[in-house]
């Protein structure tokens, strides 16, 4: 058994994903996939639950998918009580990927908007070693800081369509960040493109700021 299997102390929770409640057109996810080199083996990190449609979508690629459902981690829920260093250690414990892993694509979805400032900095610090200069990321931020985030999870139906399901776990407290704050705290990425969405969210395509090449 690999270290990855052994370090997972708890079995997946009893809550299974709810049904798809909506479909969301996504131009920037499509843009990210188009830029990815499909001829090369892709290494993908998803911060979220493994959903059937996402696995099915990526099955057309030669790829390795890593699912890291940080939404269910207790240290994330307790972020207000933890120091940035403790949070970094928490993320690092979750990011013990096999040696040589370097992500080409990261799928953050809404997760960044659930991290307060120290947690976002800690997340950035823990993720940095697993990125390279060609890493791209997709996620959602907010255009208006007053927006209330829905407790949802995303999947990938096709290149231009995401699926939306209601998350079965408790809603976490939202910490929406402005684009400038995000740029400051998530400094291993820069904004490549942003797209305003009707509900006040900001769809983001991010690109790595790191100089190291892919191993």
């Amino acid at each position: 058994m690999s270290e990855t299997a052994l370090k997972l102390e708890t079995a997946p929770g009893p809550l299974r994903s709810g049904p798809v409640v909506a479909q969301l057109p996504s131009k920037l996810f499509a843009a990210m996939i188009k830029q990815a080199d499909a001829e090369r083996r892709l290494t993908v990190l998803e911060i979220g639950t493994a959903l059937a449609e996402t696995v099915d979508f990526f099955s057309r690629f030669h790829c390795r998918l890593h699912f890291c459902d940080l939404y269910s981690e207790s240290f994330v829920h307790a972020q207000a009580d933890l120091s940035q260093d403790e949070l970094r250690q928490g993320f690092e414990a979750q990011f013990r990927f096999p040696s040589g892993t370097s992500f080409d694509l990261c799928l953050f979805w809404d997760f960044l908007s659930y991290l307060d400032d120290p947690a976002l900095r800690a997340f950035n610090s823990a993720l940095r070693p697993w990125l390279h200069r060609g890493t791209q990321a997709h996620g959602f931020g907010v255009h208006h800081l007053a927006i209330s985030l829905e407790n949802i999870q995303y999947g990938v139906k096709d290149e231009e369509t995401l699926t939306v399901r209601k998350r079965q776990t408790a809603q976490m407290r939202a910490h929406p960040h402005s684009q400038i704050e995000m740029h400051d705290m998530l400094d291993c990425f820069k904004f490549e493109r942003g797209l305003l969405m009707p509900d006040g969210k900001l769809e983001m395509l991010l690109k790595s700021t790191l100089a190291n090449s892919r191993p």
């Binding site: 299997a5 997972l8 079995a11 997946p12 299974r16 059937a52 790829c63 998918l65």
Partner: protein, 188 residues
């Protein structure tokens, strides 16, 4: 010698441990592929094994296996009541129960809606049914799918055609060689 007991509580006091048995003819697609005459070795419900399991036939697990590896040159199915804490290597792996360990399928790995898996999966094709719980990584290589992966059809793959196989001689948990469905056990 493998520990091969029906009830964990009576492990020490039960000298006559149950043997792996051949499953009855498939009753439905969920138990085994309909119409498949393939031999299926079964770890039945209530049976608990501590150790490694190797099968030369299809293997259906309704009980519990805790060890390092479960290997089959054919297909492995973990039923809803089945629980495996070990790595699994087979041609097709279908999981309706619970697995903690890495899974390698030379053709396909499928996690059904009732399945719970934590570990790393490597297979040319991986399918998650809606509702399946998965934690870990999935390594897929669609290019490998185009290659002729195996000469024999898969029993668990609904698209596969079945073919009868001769029983094979193997070493069992009880020590002696016996003619059975090709299941062998090794203590962990």
């Amino acid at each position: 010698m493998a520990m091969f007991d029906k009830h964990k509580a009576s492990k020490e006091s039960s000298p006559a441990a149950p043997e792996p048995r051949e499953a009855p003819p498939p009753q439905s697609a969920s138990a085994a592929p309909a119409g498949s005459p393939d031999k299926v070795a079964m770890i039945g419900r209530g049976i608990s094994i501590s150790g490694d399991v190797t099968a030369d036939s299809n293997l259906r697990i309704e009980g519990v296996i805790e060890g390092r590896s479960v290997q089959s040159s054919h297909d492995v199915e973990i039923a809803e009541s089945g629980r495996v804490v070990a790595g699994i290597t087979a041609k097709v792996v279908m999981i309706s129960g619970e697995v903690t360990g890495d899974i390698s399928g030379s053709e396909k790995v499928m996690i059904a809606r009732s399945g719970r898996v934590q570990g790393n999966v490597v297979a040319p094709r991986v399918q998650l049914e809606d509702g399946a719980l998965f934690r870990g990584s999935i390594d897929m290589n669609p290019a490998a799918e185009a290659k002729p992966a195996a000469s024999k059809p898969s029993a668990l793959d609904p698209g596969g055609k079945s073919k009868a196989e001769s029983p094979q001689v193997s070493e069992t948990a009880m020590g002696g060689p016996r003619k059975d469905s090709g299941l062998s056990l090794k203590s962990g």
